[in-house]
Symmetry: C2
Subunit: 229 residues, 2 copies
């Protein structure tokens, strides 16, 4: 018997598809922070009744990218500078932990997958597809979490990723300029292939990809704009 892994069949509930659609719209910034989601309007656009739509929205609320106020509505979360700082600082700690756990488990398959994802980032960069660039960069970054063999850690990372992706997308949209052409992941990948775990951890802690500094300055801009209202 060949050990062929078929994997699970796709979820074919409307709910699951709605979740995917909404999530994508939020994470790419098509739905802006603070924006209200009108159930009737969306359900008509999607040709779906409100029941599965509402269930989908509950999931995204719990996922942390929507927020719900009873009898008032469901809204895309607002993004403050503090949120970004908080998410980033937690991400640093988790990175360190993920690298520590992944380290002894690295094997050829890990290195191959690392290269594959790195290549995907470079390709998206060449194609100037900013949305895809963010996606692939986060997937590259997520490999250490998938490899760390800790399901709770992975879940936590995935929740965090949603927000990070949203933050970066907003940032890109705001500055509205082409993404950096040079490859900022070269060092990261090289360190993960190397033999100095501490160095890899230090790098993760100090220099996150996708220039975090810029993201922060964007966040501070948001803060100022918000305080004026």
């Amino acid at each position: 018997m060949a050990k062929l892994d078929f994997g699970p069949i796709a979820d074919t509930t409307r709910r699951a598809e709605i979740v995917a659609l909404l999530r994508r719209a939020i994470l790419t910034g098509q739905l802006e922070p603070g924006q209200k989601l009108n159930e009737l309007r969306i359900s008509e656009q999607m040709r779906v009744s409100r029941a599965p739509l509402r269930e989908a929205m509950r999931e995204l609320v719990q996922e942390g990218i929507l927020t719900s106020i009873p009898y008032a509505g469901t809204f895309v979360i607002e993004v403050t500078a503090k949120d970004i700082i908080d998410a980033y600082s937690l991400n640093q700690v988790l990175d360190e932990f993920a690298i520590e756990r992944t380290w002894p488990l690295r094997d050829q398959r890990f290195f191959d997958e690392l290269d594959r994802r790195h290549e995907a980032v470079k390709q998206a960069t060449r194609a100037k597809d900013t949305t895809r660039q963010i996606e692939t960069a986060l997937q590259l970054h997520g490999l250490i979490y998938e490899w760390a063999d800790n399901s709770v850690l992975l879940e936590t990372w995935q929740r965090l990723t949603s927000r990070l992706q949203m933050y970066f997308a907003l940032h890109q949209r705001a500055r509205n300029e082409p993404v950096p052409a040079e490859d900022v992941h070269e060092t990261y990948v090289a360190l993960l292939k190397g033999s100095d775990m501490r160095a890899a951890q230090r790098h993760a802690r100090e220099h996150i990809d996708l220039d975090f500094e810029e993201l922060l300055s964007y966040a501070r801009g948001l803060e100022k704009r918000a305080s004026k209202n």
Copy 2:
């Protein structure tokens, strides 16, 4: 004008109450791991239609204590030894981080609240109310997360707490014997009041309250029982 803080009004949707009811039932072990939740039966018992019940269940799925398989049902998550180990090891890392962030923010109000929660644990212990003892112990433990001034960290902790509470409740149920009478939190509280942050972190990392060792041995028992099927 007296600066009286009224705080937000209680959510009075059926959905929110159902969430609370179900969560409590799961975390106290009244609903056992792996058990299926029959929508019709539960909605009749609660005198509620299936719509809000289903929405509540979606929330708990996303919260990580239920799992859903399309057209098959929604089930209480199974608990494996690995889950417990994973949750615990992540908890160690988060504790360290939370202590680091809380440390410079400690003030009189912090110490007062620390004592208050510690007292609550002792009281539950004296009353031999095991469920409440677990709850209060986790609340005591959660103070450093509430104080760390990092919303993402707090959310992560709350998710983790759900599972930890469930694990401990299962453990207590399984061994079915009175809880330890002596106070295991004395050292923890003292260290948090002291001036040696490293020592507090080390304590959190090495000796978690509510004897984790026992919990693990229980988890290993689960593993063995499961492998027999």
